[in-house]
């Protein structure tokens, strides 16, 4: 393998691993759930992204394959699914927070969290369109409020 290519691959690997690590530091360190959500969903995506990119460069131009791009399929998949995971987790957390006001027993929930949790409940009570079933979480929060 040519030296410049090796340098690029090595740099991407270290950079990616560093971001994976920092994402987990955020997960372990940040005070409450909604802030914790910011650590891993982001840093991990770019961290794994850099490592996958390194892999794609590494396997390209070797004797078996001219171009190796299948790592990009994993990358594409992660970039599509990461927002969905974050969205569902945030929804589940707020939903549980509505049920039990004391969500955190270690961190410090902010007043904003409680406000938004209430707003989640308040939303479905506004007049609903014919497609009322579309936001199931909101609907259920509403049912539970009654």
């Amino acid at each position: 393998m040519s030296p410049p290519k090796e340098t690029v691959v090595a740099a991407l690997i270290v950079l990616g691993a560093l971001f994976v690590f920092l994402g987990s530091v955020g997960l372990a360190r940040l005070p409450d759930f909604l802030t914790r959500l910011h650590g891993p969903t982001k840093a991990t995506t770019i961290g794994v992204g850099a490592i996958l990119l390194a892999s794609a460069i590494f396997f390209s131009g070797s004797e078996s394959t001219a171009v190796s791009l299948h790592e990009l399929a994993i990358l594409l998949f992660l970039f599509i699914t990461a927002p969905i995971t974050a969205h569902l987790l945030a929804k589940a957390a707020l939903h549980r927070q509505v049920r039990r006001d004391d969500l955190t027993d270690g961190g410090t929930p902010t007043a904003d969290d409680a406000d938004a949790a209430e707003r989640q409940v308040a939303q479905p009570s506004s007049p609903r369109g014919p497609d009322g079933g579309r936001e199931r979480a909101n609907d259920e929060a509403g049912q539970q409020d009654r």
Binding site: F21, T81, I84
Partner: protein, 89 residues
């Protein structure tokens, strides 16, 4: 140089997984545990890809892809359970 980079990366990701495990065991909420599991899965993908580079074999690619697929489906299922299962009970 590539080998040194791989060593550093393995150490960093192992530390990351230890931190994830800490959050998984400590909680406090179920949502935290699910998030920790999801992150554990994603860092496992990184580990698999690094193994692939180290052994210069593309056989790890399918495993990484499967882990990405199953991790996502599992996380979504767990979240859905939190959102709906609680209500029915």
């Amino acid at each position: 140089m590539l080998n040194a980079a791989l060593e550093i990366a393995f150490v960093l990701i192992a530390a990351a997984q230890a931190l994830n495990l800490y959050r998984l065991l400590r909680g406090p909420d179920l949502c935290d545990r699910i998030l920790a599991l999801d992150t554990l899965g994603i860092s496992a993908i990184a580990l698999l890809v690094l193994f692939g580079i180290r052994s210069a074999s593309t056989a790890y690619f399918e495993a990484a892809l499967l882990l990405a697929l199953l991790g996502f489906v599992g996380t979504v299922a767990l979240c859905k359970f939190l959102l709906r299962g609680d209500i029915i009970e």
